[in-house]
Structures are given as structure tokens and as C-alpha cells.
């Protein structure tokens, strides 16, 4: 699974198949702080990601005035 991460922007490869929640746990990312977009579509935590998927882990926490 190709995973695109932000802050800083980077790309990592993770072995599939893997559930979204398991992938986030593996990456040490809190579920409440991100959305996961697979091949352009929003997916839920129990969705199964395959080796061929391109996944964006998008942060959702803002902290301005």
C-alpha cells in the first residue's frame, strides 16, 4: 500500500492487505485526528487496503485563532 502522509509531506510503503485502523496503529497515528482516502474515496476504519491501493492519510486538526 502506498501511503501519502503530511506534516511533513512524505510517502511510505506498507504491506497489504491491511485494515485502515491497523494501518493507522502501525503508523502511530490517532484515528480521531485523520481521515483516510483510498484511491480518491473516503474509507472507514474497517476497510481492507490492498497492495495496489494508493492511500492519503489526511490530518483534520486545526489550531488557529
Amino acid at each position: 500500500v502506498k501511503v501519502l502522509l503530511r506534516n511533513p509531506k512524505r510517502e511510505v510503503e506498507e504491506a497489504g492487505p491491511v485494515r485502515v485502523h491497523a494501518l493507522l496503529d502501525r503508523l502511530g497515528i490517532h484515528r480521531e485526528t485523520v481521515l483516510v482516502i483510498s484511491n480518491g474515496a473516503l474509507v472507514t476504519g474497517d476497510s481492507l487496503l490492498l497492495d495496489t491501493d494508493i492511500v492519503e492519510v489526511r490530518p483534520v486538526i486545526s489550531g488557529g485563532a
Binding site: S47, V60, G63, G64, A65
Partner: protein
């Protein structure tokens, strides 16, 4: 191809989001319906506005303000936007472009005010001059301009995209330090008063993650990058702490904030902390508790000061965290 997991609880099609605090799963269409219902419920419950009101949306180009604008239009409100160019380098340039593209694509009216062009300073220069964290000068500037613009242009209410996470984090910070005056004022709607417009936060029933999801589901292109000057502020720390609790006990943020509104806010409204009479700023006439308002103090202090770069401010802020007021006064 990803194998979809859970099903929408309404139509049984593949879900795109699960909301543990509601024990709910939705497809895109029914999630959007949910967001509209929650927004309408907040507006109705807190008597935020009427369909005949002229509404001014405080637009930043981020997920919350663009989702809010979209939701209000879907609910039938007449809403224009106001974007403020804060002078935070490329970040501000891009946020303005996202806001304008959103408005243009829908044929909406977006007003724009450039902080340096109109008032002679920008947020980095203000932060450096006032020796405060950037979010403090930024918040003061935005509140002053949104308020004065709404009054001058005859809008009935200013709405901001503060969501449940924002409000729970502010409440957490205010309660940690027992800021009674701020607690007394922390309500999702504030009536027009002393020359200030009515202000409302229609997203207080929706979480930050839900607003980002609403944008993705509805193809709203928003600025994902965070303000470079906000990184590491106290407000983000409060959100992180609350999210750890939320993971253990879904619904805690909602219970905390809406429990406060139901049980403690009415008590605080009767306290002396909320009764202070406001005077008028000697320079601009805005409501203030001091002789000169915070915005005019920044304006006076930065008069003649050369522009300061973002990098300089960030390095100073991280070097000495002297003060934080990330989402502080007047909220």
C-alpha cells in the same frame, strides 16, 4: 481496489465514515444529510439566525468555514463571505485562492480585506512587535475586522466555522485556568451588543473530522495545510488531550461542551463576570473594556515598523513561549 467495510445505517450502501459517538455509519449522501440536520439543529436550538437574515460567513479557505458556507446555503440562508488576507506568506496567498475558487464556482459574493493594505500591518509583524504568540494578534485582528465589516455593511449576523473540537478545547483551556469571564462568554451565539454584531457558531454539534469529511464527500477543495505559525500552540495540545479521552470514551467531547452549555452557562450568565459594561475605543469607536481597543493598540505599535518575516516570528515563538492566547478573549 479497497474492500469496503461497514454499511451505511440508512441505505446499506458502503459507508464512508463511522461516527462512534453517535454509533452511526453513513454513505456520502446520508452523511451530508446528517451534517445539515446537525447544523439546522444547532441554529434552531440556540436561536442563531432566521432565514430572512443577511449572514456574513468568516471565510478562511479551510475545511470548517467552506463547509459552513456550503451547509448554510443548502439550508436556504442568504450568506456572503468575508476573507481577510492576514499576510502569512504563501499560506495566506493560497488560503485566499481556495476561498475565491469556492465562491466563484458557486456564484457567491466574497468580500476581501487585506490586513496590510487596509490597516498597514500583517500578522507576523504584529506578533513580533507585540511580543505575543501569533495566534493572539491574528485572533484580535480577525474579530475586529469581521465585527466592524458586518456592522458597516448591514449584516444581521456573523457566523464562524468553530466546531465541536474547537469549542471543547477552548472550554478545556478556560476551565483549567478558571477564566470566569471567558467561561461566561463562551456561548455558541452572542447577541448584538454595544456596536458589535450578533455572532454565531453553527458547527458546534459537528466534529472537526466530520467537517473535513463533509468537504471531501461534497468535492469542496479546501486548504489542508495548517497555518505555519499555529504549530505547537496550546490549543492544539488541548485538542490532543481531549482526543485521547474521546478514543477511550466516544461522546465525551460532546457531553463536556454541550453539558457546559446546558448546565453551567446559564448559571454563569447571571454572574457579575458577564455584566461588564463596554466602553468605546477612543480611536475607532469599537466596543472595548479599555480606553483603546486591542486592535488599535496593535495598529499603533506597528506603525512605521518594517515587515517581519514568518520565519523570524516562528523561531522567536519556539524559543520563548511567553504567552499563548490561541483562542482566547471575546469568544
Amino acid at each position: 481496489m479497497t474492500n469496503p467495510g461497514m454499511k451505511c445505517m440508512v441505505c446499506k450502501q458502503p459507508a464512508v465514515i463511522d461516527l462512534p459517538r453517535h454509533n452511526a455509519k453513513f454513505c456520502g449522501e446520508h452523511f451530508s444529510n446528517f451534517c445539515r440536520e446537525q447544523t439546522a439543529k444547532a441554529i434552531r436550538h440556540h436561536d442563531m439566525m432566521q432565514l430572512t437574515d443577511r449572514v456574513l460567513v468568516a471565510v478562511s479557505g479551510g475545511k470548517d468555514s467552506l463547509a459552513l458556507w456550503d451547509l448554510l446555503l443548502a439550508l436556504g440562508y442568504q450568506a456572503d463571505g468575508l476573507y481577510i488576507g492576514l499576510g502569512i506568506g504563501e499560506y495566506s496567498d493560497e488560503s485566499g485562492q481556495y476561498s475565491q475558487r469556492f465562491a466563484d464556482a458557486r456564484g457567491l459574493k466574497l468580500h476581501t480585506v487585506d490586513l496590510r493594505g487596509t490597516y498597514g500591518f500583517d500578522v507576523p509583524t504584529a506578533a513580533a512587535t507585540m511580543k505575543r504568540v501569533p495566534c493572539s494578534s491574528c485572533g484580535v485582528s480577525k474579530r475586529h475586522i469581521f465585527d466592524s465589516y458586518a456592522v458597516e455593511h448591514g449584516y444581521d449576523v456573523v457566523v464562524t466555522g468553530h466546531n465541536l473540537d474547537d469549542e471543547a478545547a477552548v472550554l478545556f483551556g478556560n476551565a483549567l485556568h478558571w477564566e470566569m469571564e471567558y467561561l461566561a462568554r463562551q456561548r455558541p451565539v452572542l447577541p448584538a451588543r454595544d456596536g458589535m454584531p450578533k455572532k454565531a457558531k453553527p458547527l458546534v454539534r459537528l466534529a472537526e473530522r466530520e467537517m473535513a469529511a463533509y468537504c471531501i464527500v461534497n468535492s469542496i477543495d479546501y486548504q489542508v495545510e495548517e497555518c505555519p505559525m499555529a504549530a505547537g500552540n496550546r490549543h492544539l495540545g488541548y485538542k490532543e488531550a481531549l482526543n485521547l479521552i474521546e478514543a477511550q470514551s466516544p461522546g465525551t467531547k460532546h457531553q463536556y461542551y454541550h453539558g457546559f452549555l446546558d448546565r453551567l452557562a446559564p448559571v454563569l450568565a447571571d454572574t457579575a463576570a458577564d455584566r461588564g459594561d463596554l466602553g468605546r475605543c477612543e480611536r475607532c469607536g469599537a466596543a472595548t473594556t479599555a480606553g483603546i481597543c486591542s486592535f488599535c493598540r496593535i495598529s499603533a505599535a506597528t506603525n512605521g515598523v518594517n515587515p517581519v518575516s514568518i520565519e523570524v516570528v516562528i523561531s522567536r515563538t519556539r524559543g520563548s513561549k511567553k504567552s499563548t492566547a490561541s483562542k482566547g478573549p471575546a469568544r
